[in-house]
C-alpha cells in the first residue's frame, strides 16, 4: 500500500533531460503604504515611538487579550531578541496602552 502510494511521487518529479532555458528578468514591487493605525489611548505616543519601526501596529492590535505580564514579556522579547531600541522607561506606558486597547476592544465586541 505504502510503496504504491509513493510511486506517483517519482513520476511527478518531472525532470526534463534537455532542460528548457530559464531566463531571469529583474523584479521590483511597490508595497502599499502602511496606515500605522493606533486607536487613541494613554501611552499611544510611546507605542508609536517604540513599537512601529519594525512592524505595523496590527502586529500588536491583532493579539488575543493577554494579561499585563504577557505584554511586559513581549516588550522584553522585542528588546532582548530583536534588539528593539526601546526606551525602557516607557515600558509601563506601552503596557498600559496595550492593556487599555484590549479592554476597549473587548467592550466593543
Amino acid at each position: 500500500m505504502r510503496a504504491l502510494a509513493i510511486l506517483p511521487a517519482l513520476a511527478l518529479l518531472a525532470a526534463c533531460d534537455s532542460a528548457p532555458g530559464v531566463s531571469f528578468a529583474d523584479a521590483s514591487i511597490t508595497l502599499p503604504d502602511d496606515p500605522v493605525d493606533l486607536p487613541e489611548g494613554p501611552g499611544r505616543e510611546e507605542v508609536l515611538a517604540n513599537c512601529t519601526a519594525c512592524h505595523s501596529p496590527s502586529t500588536m492590535l491583532q493579539q488575543p487579550k493577554v494579561p499585563r505580564e504577557k505584554w511586559e514579556g513581549i516588550a522584553k522579547k522585542m528588546i532582548e531578541t530583536y534588539k528593539a531600541p526601546v526606551d525602557e522607561t516607557t515600558i509601563p506606558r506601552i503596557v498600559d496602552y496595550m492593556v487599555f486597547v484590549q479592554e476597549q476592544g473587548e467592550a466593543a465586541q
Partner: protein, 404 residues
C-alpha cells in the same frame, strides 16, 4: 551601526511621520472579513491590495502578512500565485537585479562558490514538484486557549507547482560537502533592521537537503517567483512547513553542527517534545519540521443552510502532510462516512479534492467535519493538541449546517 539600520533617532523620526498620517487613514473604512477567532479580535481588512495579489486577508502591511481566504480553495487544488499566502518576518528588498544576484555556497564544502542565477539554473536537471506550502503557525488564531504570535485563520497554506534544481546539485557546484557536514543552512535577502538581531536562517539535516525533491526553485506555477514569494529563488521542501522554504535565497552554508544554534532553529519554531498543558514551563522542545495531514470542507462554511429532504454533496480539499493522503472521512458526532478522493495526479504533497454525496438531508448537521489520514497512518485528532506557540494545528475542523 551600519547604514539603513535602525537607531532610536531614525525610529522616532519615522514614527513621527506616520503618526501624522494615522488619523486621516484611520477613517478609511475597508472591507472586512471575520476569521471567527475565539474571543477576538477577529475582523481583518481585505485591503490594501498588494501588487500581483488578488483578494487577500491583510493581517499586516509591513512586513507583509497576507492570508488566503478559505473561499479561494474552492476554485481548485492549485493555488494561483495571486492567492498564495505571504509571510515575512523582516523587511526585504523591493527591487532585485537578476544579473547582480548571487548565491554564496560555503561552509563545509570543497570550494566555496558564488553563483549567478544562470549558474544555479545550470547546476542540474530542472525538476518540478507540486507541493503544499503551509506556515507552521497556520490556524494559530483558532487555538484555545489563545496564544500570541501571528493570528492566522486556516488560510496560511496553498499548493503550487514549484520548479528549480535540486539543492544537492547546487552543493555539487561547490565541489560537494565535507564528510563531517551535518546540516545545510539557508538565508535570504530579508535582514533585520537592528544590529545583533537574528537573521531568518533555517537549516535542514543533510539527508533532507540531499533529497530528490528538495529544490532551489525559481518558478511557481510556471511563472517566475513573485517578489512577495521570494524572487529570485526559494527553497522548496515538500512535506515540511514553509519556515524551511527560505525566500530570496542568497546564502547556502554547510555546517557541522548536529543541532543548529541559530535563533530561528534553536529558540523559536519549536514544538513540545511531548504534549503540554497551558501554563507548563521548561519542557523539552524539538524543531517543527514535517506537516501532519489536514482536510477542509470548502463547499460550505459554518452556519450555511442546506436543503432539507434533498441530497447533499459536500466537497473540499485535503493533504497528507509529509506522506501521501490515504483517506478522508466525513465525521459527525458519533458517525462517519468515507469520502471519495479525486485521482492522485499531482503527487503525494499536493492538495487533493474529496467529495461525498449524502442521499438525503434529514436535519441539521451539528459539528460536522472531515478527517484525513496519510499513508503513514497519521490521522487528524478529534481534540485539539494545544501548544504554546500554536504550531502545526491539525485538529478536525468542524462546521454546523442548518437544514431548511
Amino acid at each position: 551601526m551600519s547604514e539603513g539600520k535602525l537607531t532610536r533617532r531614525t525610529l522616532i523620526a519615522g514614527a513621527g511621520v506616520t503618526a501624522l498620517a494615522a488619523p486621516v487613514l484611520a477613517q478609511q473604512a475597508g472591507r472586512l472579513i471575520d476569521l471567527g477567532l475565539p474571543g477576538g479580535p477577529s475582523l481583518r481588512p481585505l485591503e490594501p491590495v498588494f501588487p500581483g495579489k488578488g483578494e487577500m486577508i491583510v493581517h499586516r502591511v509591513r512586513p507583509p502578512v497576507l492570508e488566503t481566504p478559505m473561499s479561494a480553495f474552492r476554485e481548485g487544488v492549485i493555488t494561483p500565485n495571486d492567492r498564495m499566502f505571504v509571510r515575512w518576518n523582516w523587511p526585504f528588498p523591493t527591487e532585485i537585479k537578476a544579473n547582480e544576484h548571487r548565491v554564496a555556497v560555503g561552509g563545509a564544502v570543497k570550494r566555496a562558490a558564488s553563483l549567478t542565477l544562470d549558474e544555479v539554473a545550470a547546476a542540474g536537471e530542472h525538476v518540478s514538484v507540486v507541493a503544499v506550502n503551509q506556515c507552521a503557525g497556520n490556524g494559530r488564531g483558532l487555538s484555545q486557549p489563545r496564544v500570541t504570535g501571528g493570528q492566522w485563520g486556516n488560510g496560511a497554506m496553498g499548493c503550487a507547482k514549484w520548479t528549480g534544481v535540486r539543492v544537492r546539485d547546487v552543493l555539487a557546484k561547490a565541489g560537494g560537502t565535507a564528510p563531517w557536514a551535518k546540516r545545510v543552512r539557508f538565508a535570504g535577502l530579508d535582514v533585520p533592521l537592528t544590529d545583533g538581531a537574528p537573521q531568518f536562517i533555517k537549516s535542514l539535516p543533510m539527508d533532507m537537503a540531499m533529497r530528490d525533491d528538495v529544490l532551489v526553485a525559481w518558478a511557481m506555477n510556471d511563472e517566475p517567483l513573485p517578489i512577495l514569494h521570494g524572487f529570485p529563488l526559494r527553497i522548496v521542501v515538500p512535506g515540511w512547513f514553509s519556515t524551511y522554504w527560505v525566500k530570496m535565497l542568497a546564502t547556502i552554508e554547510v555546517i557541522d553542527d548536529e543541532e543548529d544554534p541559530s535563533h530561528y532553529m534553536a529558540d523559536t519554531y519549536r514544538f513540545p517534545a511531548a504534549p503540554v498543558q497551558p501554563g507548563d514551563k521548561g519542557f523539552p522542545t524539538v524543531p517543527i519540521t514535517t506537516m501532519p495531514p489536514r482536510s477542509f470542507i470548502t463547499s460550505h462554511a459554518d452556519g450555511d443552510t442546506v436543503a432539507l429532504g434533498k441530497p447533499l454533496v459536500l466537497e473540499g480539499i485535503a493533504f497528507g502532510g509529509d506522506a501521501a493522503l490515504d483517506r478522508v472521512d466525513l465525521v459527525g458526532m458519533g458517525w462517519e462516512i468515507p469520502c471519495t478522493l479525486a485521482p492522485d495526479d499531482l503527487g503525494p504533497y499536493a492538495f487533493r479534492r474529496w467529495w461525498v454525496e449524502l442521499p438525503q438531508v434529514a436535519g441539521d448537521f451539528e459539528q460536522v467535519g472531515v478527517r484525513a489520514r496519510n499513508v503513514n497512518g497519521a490521522v487528524q485528532p478529534e481534540t485539539f493538541v494545544w501548544n504554546p506557540s500554536g504550531y502545526a494545528r491539525n485538529v478536525i475542523e468542524r462546521i454546523t449546517l442548518r437544514a431548511q
